[in-house]
């Protein structure tokens, strides 16, 4: 995943799981002919925008910190 800057497997899982749970990543990835990297980067941008973070499309440390905070289980985008 080139969108994962530090390449740590644990962080990849955290980001993937977070975007899957709260940003419909899995469903959007099921669509045919999608560019996986671009979908994930787009989801990251959505998340960064909502949380008032710098919108990079990358899972930078600030984004990871925000993802590790306790949160409500309701998705941030409509399913």
């Amino acid at each position: 995943f080139p969108v994962i800057q530090d390449g740590l497997q644990k962080n990849v899982k955290t980001v993937w799981k977070y975007l899957e749970n709260y940003y419909n990543l899995g469903k959007n990835m099921q669509a045919k002919n999608v560019n996986g990297k671009e979908v994930m980067a787009e989801k990251l941008r959505q998340m960064q925008q909502l949380f008032g973070l710098k919108v990079t499309g990358n899972s930078d440390p600030e984004t990871l910190r925000a993802m590790k905070k306790p949160r409500c289980g309701v998705p941030d985008v409509a399913p």
Partner: protein
């Protein structure tokens, strides 16, 4: 305002709720009180009314669950997902689920049941998450104190769905009584000759030619400010107000927050990183020097050069003899600094460098 997909909302204004079970960490009475208060958060600002029912299932059912509990949102006992709710509708619609394995509290420790319930009920009523970090509907858990005030963003969004309350909270004596002895304020400023006192979501204006002070809501005048400030001051030279909350500063001209704000006080003023909030601030009109009070120390900032003066911080009590207490607020009127500590004010003469009067704070309000 952004609401959820297809804008689901309840079509009736009187809703019932039922509590299916309880957390072992709190007494039933505490749980019931927290839930009732959470409903009031929303009924205070909308035409919605809520009634608890016992014999039947309410429109909104609140319940505690462990692990996989039959919906798509499995709990795992981790702090990353402790509750969820469903949008308005039949069956599961509107229901609130809490993770049974979380330690639910009625204090500042994780997770405060009242705060989480108020947030989840926002979903039950049709709201999605907000991108306003100060809002109740921000997705991350941000509870830090008991003094809960519903954010204007939440009010705007819920009123976009249901309209305003027919009985809005009245700005009466019951809400904020300026003549109440023992009254304290979050921040006090001078502004174009008036003195303005801030308390929670309200402010009181003292206008010299009016016999009584005026009380208003901060959000109505400054909708882009967070409210419940730590400190504020006027820079009369540039007709600017600056408001502080935590380590952030908002610069304001009239009703508008200036572009680029809020900013960190460290980067804007040059505070060291260990200064994370300001108790009080005042700009001396004649010199353009701003005094920032933090615990028992103060810093001096030059508004003209936009830099901290060297040699600071210094002890407050050393340079302002008699000010031995933590400073809550400070303003300047003529040749005096008025230092406020709890409900008492001390008039400090800047020429003689001594306190020449002290009185109750509500002497400002012609009580």
């Amino acid at each position: 305002y952004a609401i959820t997909h297809n804008n689901p909302r309840w079509t009736k204004t009187h809703l019932t709720y039922s509590i299916l079970n309880y957390t072992p960490y709190l007494s039933k009475a505490v749980v019931e009180d927290a839930i009732a208060r959470a409903f009031r958060v929303w009924s205070d600002v909308t035409p919605l009314t809520f009634q608890r029912v016992f014999e039947e299932e309410g429109d909104i059912v609140l319940s505690f669950h462990r692990g996989d509990h039959g919906d798509l949102y499995t709990f795992d006992g981790s702090k990353y997902h402790f509750a969820h709710a469903f949008l308005p509708g039949l069956g599961l619609g509107g229901n609130v689920h809490y993770d049974l394995d979380q330690k639910w509290t009625d204090n500042n420790e994780d997770f405060n049941l009242f705060y989480v319930t108020a947030h989840e009920l926002g979903h039950s009523l049709g709201l999605s998450h907000s991108n306003d970090e100060e809002a109740l509907m921000f997705p991350s858990y941000t509870w830090s104190n008991k003094d809960f005030v519903l954010n204007q963003d939440d009010i705007n969004r819920i009123q976009a769905l249901y309209g305003p309350s027919p009985n809005p909270i009245q700005l009466t004596d019951a809400t904020l009584d300026p003549c109440n002895s023992g009254l304290t304020f979050d921040a006090i400023i001078t502004y174009r000759g008036e003195v303005i006192f801030f308390k929670d979501r309200f402010y009181i204006r003292v206008i010299s030619f009016l016999p009584e002070p005026l009380i208003d809501v901060i959000d109505l005048t400054w909708p882009n400010l967070p409210g419940k400030f730590d400190a504020a001051y006027e820079v009369s030279g540039v007709d600017e107000l600056r408001f502080f909350k935590g380590s952030k500063v908002w610069a304001v001209q009239e009703q508008n927050v200036l572009e680029g704000f809020p900013m960190d006080i460290q980067s804007f003023f040059g505070f060291p990183s260990n200064v994370t909030n300001i108790d009080a601030a005042v700009c001396e009109e004649e010199t353009g020097k701003t005094y920032f009070f933090v615990d028992h120390m103060y810093w001096r900032y030059d508004e003209n050069t936009r830099s901290m003066d060297p040699g600071y911080p210094r002890l407050i009590a050393e340079d302002f003899p008699g000010i031995d207490y933590k400073v809550d607020d400070v303003i300047q009127k003529e040749d005096n600094f008025y230092f406020f500590h709890q409900s008492i004010q001390y008039r400090f003469n800047l020429k003689t460098r001594r306190i020449d009067d002290s009185s109750d704070i509500n002497t400002w309000f012609n009580c």
